[in-house]
Every structure is written in structure tokens, then in C-alpha cells.
């Protein structure tokens, strides 16, 4: 018998939203009348997860299950250890390394597509669930999380609206929402946001993002390649600039749209998944930008890498100079982020570029602090700062896009 699996990749087409909305109705009615149907939610989540990982994606589904068992064993082994009152640094480090190993292996293996491995590795969203696990282990170390409840933990890791590309929620925050039923008034407000975010998401991803990414970008790419190859040398042309802006807009609207969907569906379920973007293109400087762009990721990096590393380094007095320490921490953070995006030159250059930009920005802020009187500050300088930041950011996205690699070396 020819058995056709229905396979639904999250938020990819109108049908997905129709199925999703129908499946959400009992949850919405439940929350409105003051009940959270946890069993129904679980079944509903499993069905939609199954729809992501069935059919031709079944191998990814198997990988997800293996990963889940592995991380569960790890987390609860570490919890057992902590419950016995022990808190050795090497055990903690080992736990974190073990938690990251699957993700690192996937990143490493996918970097070499030529060494074709006989099986599918990784699964959609492995990065995001790994970040969640690492976060839980780190907070157990600090004693901020005393006890992880297995069911809530599974629900947290597999929370399907965010499984594929975030936003990255925090365990304690999620647990708080998941365990309570909002008041009717609060829930109506949730619905109000849910609907607004949903439609904003449609506008971003399917209209604006579509124009930039599907309509204009291929045309610009083709022109940039043709004109560039004709020019020779560094193969630059005005088209590359057009590509830079177009790609940046596409990246934002596509990803912000996607994140809005995830947040919207979470709100329908009475879970306040944090927002991922906050008008990033009006940032006054690079630091400000990272507080507005892909916020859950950059906050994750800030809280679990940058702050922890600098806390550790400062406590151990590894650096005499605070400025030097902050610079080292920035490079560490952005290099890790670059490697996480993939083992290709342009992701790593992207990381170095942002680390440098933020260090320069810090220098400027220090300089400005010392010479407050001489440096003018008015509407014009504010706009200039926004303009400059915008262009620096867009340039970094040009690096990130890999287009330069395609232009210069013919591969991406």
C-alpha cells in the first residue's frame, strides 16, 4: 500500500496554521474557563512534533529521541550528584561538556558534506534544545534550580512552538507559566497579543520577507555575480551593496516573523515565551543592537558564557585590567557564536567582526565619558549613530550571508 505521511514543517504554509488553530481550540477554551488540560496539551504537542519528524524526516525523529534520553540521563545524574551536597567544578564542567558534545559533533560533521556519512545526523532545532539543557545544568550548579521535574523538563525542552528555532526560554520562567492558569482577564490580554503577533508574523515572514528574500534577492544575486565577474579583481559592484541591504532586511523579517509565530502560539497556550527582536535597526550602537537582535540567543550567551566567564576570571584574578578582560570575553563569546553558526570562514569572520566592533564601541564610550563636554550630543548625532550602527550591522550580515564566498570562491 502506498502510505503517504503528512509532514508539516513548522509555520511553513497556510495549512499548518489552519491545523494548528483547530488543534488549539480546546486549549484556548480550557484556559478561558480556567483549566489547563495538561494531558491534551501533551498529546497535541506530541502530534505536532510527530508531524515535523515523520515521513522522510523520520531519521531526525529517531535522533531527537536518542538525544532526549541522553540529556535526561545526564541532567538527572547531575541533579543526583548535587542533591548529595557536592559541587565540584570539574564535575560541573564535565556535565556541561557532555551536554554540548552531541551539538558539537553535529556541527563538526555537517561542516564536511563531502565525507558523506551513511546516515542522517542531528535534527531540526538541536541547537536550541541544547542551549536549554546547558542552562538547566548551569542553574543547578548555582543552586538556582533545586529540583527538575521530569515532565516539566520534557515539556520545556520539547515545547513545540519554539522547538525548531527558538526563542530560547528559561526553565524557571517556563515552569512558572506552565504550572498556573492565568486569570480570565490576563488570558484575554494574552489572546490579544497572540493574535497581534500572529498577524505581524504573517506580514513579516510571508509578505515583507517574501519580497526581500524570494522576489528581489535572487535577482540581485544574479546581477551581482554577473557584474562582479565582469569587473574582476575583488568583483565588487553596487549590486553587492544592494545585496547587503536586501539580505539584511530578508534576514530580519524572515526570522522576526518566525519568532513572532512562536511567541504567538505560546501566548495562545498561556505561556509567555520571551520576544526575540526589539526594533534592532534603531540601535544606537553595537551593544544596544545585541540587546535588540535575536535577544533570547544573545542573552543566553551573555548570561551563560560572557558573565560566567568574566565572573570566574575576575574572581581568580586572571586579568589585571578590567577592560582587557571584557575584550577577551567579547572575543570568546562571539567566536563561540561564530563557530556555532557553522565551521566556515565567513561565520568565524562574522564573529571576529562583531567582537571587534563591540570593543571599538566600548573604547568610544569610554572616550566619550571622559570628554563629555567637548563632544556634542544632539538629534543629529543620535541619528548619525543609528545610521552608522545600521550600516555596520548590515555589513556584518553581508559577511554572514556567505555571498562574498560565493562571489570570490564560487561556493557557499
Amino acid at each position: 500500500m502506498n502510505f503517504n505521511f503528512i509532514n508539516l514543517q513548522p509555520y511553513s504554509n497556510p495549512q499548518y496554521f489552519i491545523y494548528l488553530m483547530i488543534a488549539l481550540i480546546p486549549i484556548i477554551l480550557g484556559l478561558y474557563f480556567g483549566h489547563r488540560f495538561k494531558t491534551y496539551e501533551a498529546i497535541f504537542s506530541i502530534v505536532f512534533l510527530f508531524l515535523i519528524f515523520d515521513g522522510s524526516h523520520w531519521q531526525q525523529g529517531v535522533n531527537l529521541l536518542i538525544w532526549l534520553v541522553y540529556e535526561f540521563i545526564l541532567t538527572f545524574a547531575y541533579q543526583y550528584y548535587r542533591h548529595h551536597g557536592k559541587n565540584k567544578t570539574w564535575v560541573f564542567s564535565l556535565a556541561v561538556i557532555l551536554a554540548i558534545i552531541p551539538l558539537a559533533a553535529v556541527k563538526y560533521l555537517t561542516a564536511f558534506p563531502d565525507n558523506s556519512i551513511g546516515f542522517v545526523i542531528g535534527f531540526l532545532g538541536i541547537s536550541y534544545v541544547t542551549f536549554k539543557t546547558v542552562q538547566v545544568i548551569m542553574e543547578m550548579r548555582d543552586g538556582a534550580i533545586k529540583k527538575v521535574d521530569p515532565v516539566t523538563y520534557a515539556r520545556f525542552l520539547l515545547f513545540f512552538p519554539t522547538i525548531s528555532s527558538g526563542p530560547i526560554d528559561r526553565y524557571r520562567r517556563f515552569k512558572k507559566d506552565y504550572e498556573k492558569v492565568p486569570t480570565r482577564d490576563a488570558y484575554i490580554t494574552d489572546l490579544q497579543y497572540a493574535v497581534r503577533y500572529l498577524f505581524q508574523g504573517f506580514l513579516y515572514k510571508f509578505v515583507i520577507g517574501w519580497f526581500f528574500g524570494t522576489y528581489w534577492l535572487p535577482k540581485i544575486t544574479a546581477s551581482a555575480l554577473v557584474v562582479g565577474n565582469a569587473n574582476g579583481g575583488l568583483k565588487l559592484s553596487w549590486w553587492v551593496l544592494a545585496y547587503m541591504y536586501c539580505y539584511s532586511m530578508y534576514l530580519f523579517f524572515d526570522f522576526a516573523g518566525y519568532s513572532l509565530f512562536a511567541v504567538s502560539i505560546s501566548y495562545f497556550m498561556g505561556i509567555h515565551t520571551p520576544m526575540n527582536f526589539n526594533k534592532p535597526f534603531i540601535s544606537k550602537n553595537i551593544k544596544d543592537f545585541w540587546n535588540r537582535w535575536h535577544m533570547t540567543l544573545s542573552f543566553w550567551f551573555r548570561d551563560y558564557i560572557y558573565m560566567r566567564f568574566s565572573f570566574f576570571a575576575m574572581k581568580k584574578k586572571l586579568f589585571k585590567n578590567r577592560i582587557r578582560l571584557s575584550q577577551v570575553s567579547y572575543f570568546l563569546l562571539f567566536l563561540i557564536q561564530g563557530f556555532w553558526h557553522g565551521l566556515t570562514w565567513y561565520y568565524i569572520v562574522y564573529g571576529i567582526f562583531h567582537a571587534s566592533a563591540i570593543c571599538i564601541n566600548d573604547m568610544w564610550l569610554r572616550f566619550k565619558g571622559k570628554h563629555k563636554k567637548q563632544i556634542p550630543s544632539n538629534k543629529f548625532t543620535e541619528w548619525f549613530a543609528i545610521f552608522l550602527t545600521f550600516n555596520v550591522v548590515c555589513f556584518s550580515f553581508l559577511i554572514f550571508s556567505g555571498f562574498l564566498s560565493q562571489l570570490w570562491f564560487g561556493w557557499k
Binding site: A144, D303, M307, F311, R322, L325
Partner: protein, 79 residues
């Protein structure tokens, strides 16, 4: 020791400004503090007040004005 004065001393040390007249100013929004400075602040608070603040417990929104910091420190001292 007066908690408020202690906190203000630490902040003065970090930002180079006396914040006693802007106790409800958001010190992250106006650029006086950043992540690095907050790490340093946590360390200094630990030394000065003998309290334990793990990084996990540091949520920016709960520490973003001098008044909030003072309140936080006081609550941790009484634990």
C-alpha cells in the same frame, strides 16, 4: 554599615559617578552599566556584604536602578 551608602560606593567606583541623586534612574539604559560592570558589582557586593549572589539569580530587570540594588542586597542580607 549603611547598605545604601555601601551600594552607592560600589556604583561610584564602577561608573565614576555619584548616583545618590538618581536613585531611580535606569543605569543600564543610560549606559552607565553593562554586563561586565554588573559582574564586577556582584563580586564587590559579595565581598562587602558577605552575601552570595549566583549569576543565575542576576536578572537585569531586578537590578537596574540604585534603589532596586539596595533593596535586593537588603533582602539577601536578611536571608
Amino acid at each position: 554599615m549603611d547598605t545604601k551608602q555601601g551600594v552607592l560606593d560600589i556604583l561610584n567606583d564602577l561608573t565614576g559617578e555619584d548616583l545618590s541623586d538618581q536613585m531611580d534612574e535606569n543605569i543600564f539604559d543610560n549606559g552607565l552599566m553593562d554586563s561586565m560592570a554588573s559582574v564586577q558589582m556582584l563580586l564587590s557586593l559579595q565581598e562587602k556584604f558577605d552575601i552570595d549572589v549566583p549569576v543565575s539569580e542576576f536578572k537585569r530587570a531586578e537590578w537596574d536602578t540604585p534603589n532596586k540594588i539596595v533593596a535586593k542586597v537588603e533582602s539577601l542580607e536578611n536571608e
